[in-house]
Amino acid sequence: MTVFEPEAEIATLDTEEVGGEVVGRSPWELAGRRFLRNKLAIAAGVLFVLIIAVSLAAPLYAKHVADTDPFVSNLSGTFTQNGKTIQVIQQGGGKLGLGETPVGPTWHAKYFLGADSQGRDVAARVLYGGRASLLIGIGSAVLASLLAVVFALIAGFFGGWTDNLLSRLMDLIWAFPVYLLAISLATVLLTAPNGLKIGFVHVSPGSLWIPLVIIGIVYVPYIFRPIRGQVLSLREREFVESAIAQGASNRRLVFSEILPNVAPTVIVLMPLIIATTILTEAALSYLSIGVQAPQASWGTIVEDGQGLLYTRPWVAIAPGIMIVLTVLALNVLGDGLRDALDPRSKLRTKG
């Protein structure tokens, strides 16, 4: 790697890696081509889309394949498999042949992964859980990015006391431990008997909005910091100066000069933030302060499975595998996007 001419090096890299002309291609096009050469990242992207698709198909699976309602307990139900009638909750099966044990994985359409302690189909619940987990994960990441970008643009663009105030505020949230902040907010909101009332907005305690907004707020500073720094340095660049010289309004400077230049950073951060928010949601739900019954998420299903861990481990294993696959796919995707969009990044881990 040449130290003296990083620019020249990037240019040759581009021609080698991308193949063909660099001249006349937009940075986005070059990034797209670089990304398409990264097979691992594409595979990760496909996997993530597949997980979303499968989770969206949860009602179809529950209705047409498993033929149960995974939100209604089914303690005395039976089902037939290979001509035999099987009880969903079986008597005995504990250590001394006492107690009740839900049916284990049948590896067939009905109760593919077995039942949980309420006699509900675990496979169908995992798919439904994916909807809540992904919704909260993606939703809170989008919320955090939106807030962070707006604050960063205001802080970086106007500078002065506005910048000082916003940066200090972000430092404060940053200083607050993520889990503890989320725990305090969640406990207080979940115990409010009639839910939260702010003006016209009324949120019931079981709403998915509560974990979504809490997790979203907690991660704002993590996106705010890098973007504010970038806005500050972009503000001093020649193309912004020339736009000012041409009499561009503040609005135009922010939206058509600065915003397009911070977009790649947001795009690179996005999968990594979603990975983090999904893990946070799972942890909060596992601690029973995230998604509330009757809703389910991967985290709550792992918690359900804890009591059955030694007898019916699949209740806990299956949602965990879904979390790992999703988060891993997002991390690989994030690495790939960073390599494609930001080849000079210090964080670059490849080559």
Binding site: M1, V3, D171, L172, A175, F176, P177, Y179, L180, I183, S184, L185, T187, V188, L189, T191, A192, P193, N194, G195, L196, K197, I198, A275, L279, A282, A283, Y286, L287, S288, I289, G299, V302, G305, Q306, L309, Y310, P313, A316, I317, G320, I323, V324, V327, L328, N331, V332, D335, K346, L347, R348, T349
Partner: protein, 322 residues
């Protein structure tokens, strides 16, 4: 340097003050929430609620209430848990050694392994070993720690417990070091490993990226030009510089873990530390305990980050003027 220290410590005071206000507002001033009822836990008696209203002066203005809360936590330290009717502060102090045992052991493991993996990946760059190690590190980062703990329990406590490799693993729980050092160690080894997996993955990746970046520095080329062995270049020059980021990350993560970040591991392995205390308080909605552990944790984390900044400024003079 003196100005930097003063400025940093002043900011620390501001942050601690602001955090205590934030916690106060969350617990006492969230709209639609009755703090007295909340503080009283599940199924409170009318007397308990009345008692809390009096103790925290809930009919008085907000600043007075804030003062009363601070008094109960820091000065008179007589906050009563409404679940077990015991004093909160001694309970937290009793749980602290468990948390420290867990974190210190895990920290040793994650430092050793992340340095080994980070250096190995850099040394074997261009072979299959580097991408293999980095994929493993990425998987480590992607594992939810509470689930990993459950899987470890499933194997060591149930499925493979009869197998000689795991038959020595004691049942979940904690034995104090002073009571039986061997049992202490046996009971903690899997919690340590579980807690350190995430950090091993993360630190190994950061270290590798740093090592590769330092490779292109002038002084590394100079070191090579004067004929130092690769090994010496790595140990004395590249690794040393790369460890600066490593150390500052470590300070922050250690602070977060002491401040309650080890909660999930403590819950999964049934270790009665501070996180476990918080968790039990969560399930019974025992607000005095949650409030105190949150404030305690937040204070510890901000202290850690201040320490890191000071050490950093001491190591690198450029930071002081920033």
């Amino acid at each position: 340097m003196a100005t930097f220290i003063i400025r940093r410590l002043l900011w620390l005071v501001v942050v601690l003050f602001a955090i205590s206000i934030l916690v106060f507002l969350i617990f006492f001033a969230t709209p639609g929430v009755d703090p007295a009822r909340q503080m009283a836990g599940r199924n409170p008696t009318a007397a308990t609620i009345k008692n809390i209203k009096h103790e925290f002066g809930l009919d008085r203005p907000l600043p007075v209430r804030y003062g009363l809360m601070m008094k109960h936590i820091f000065i008179s330290r007589d906050l009563i848990s409404y679940g077990s009717h015991t004093k909160v502060i001694p309970e937290i102090l009793a749980a602290a050694p468990v948390t420290f045992s867990l974190i210190l052991g895990a920290a040793v493991i994650w430092i050793v392994f992340s340095i080994l993996i980070g250096v190995a990946a850099t040394v074997f760059r261009g072979t299959f070993i580097d991408p293999l190690l980095m994929i493993l590190a990425l998987i480590g980062i992607s594992l939810p720690v509470f689930w990993l703990g459950e899987m470890v329990n499933l194997v060591t406590q149930s499925r493979a417990h009869g197998f000689f490799l795991f038959s020595w693993v004691p049942p979940l729980g904690y034995t104090p070091l002073t009571q039986d050092p061997v049992k202490w160690f046996e009971g903690l080894i899997f919690p340590w490993l579980t807690l350190s997996v995430l950090y091993i993955g993360f630190y190994a990746r950061v270290l590798r990226a740093n090592l590769i970046e330092t490779e292109s520095e002038d002084y590394v080329r100079t070191a090579r030009a004067k004929g130092l062995s690769e090994r010496r270049v790595l140990m004395r020059h590249t690794l040393r510089t790369s460890l600066i980021t490593f150390v500052s990350l470590f300070g922050l993560d250690f602070g977060v873990l002491v401040g309650g970040g080890a909660l999930l591991v403590e819950v999964v392995f049934g270790l009665p530390g501070i996180g476990y205390l918080t968790y039990n308080a969560l399930t019974s909605l025992d607000l005095p305990i949650i409030m105190t552990t949150v404030i305690y944790g937040a204070f510890f984390i901000t202290l850690a980050s201040a320490m890191v900044d000071l050490v950093y400024a001491w190591l690198d003079p450029r930071v002081r003027t920033a």
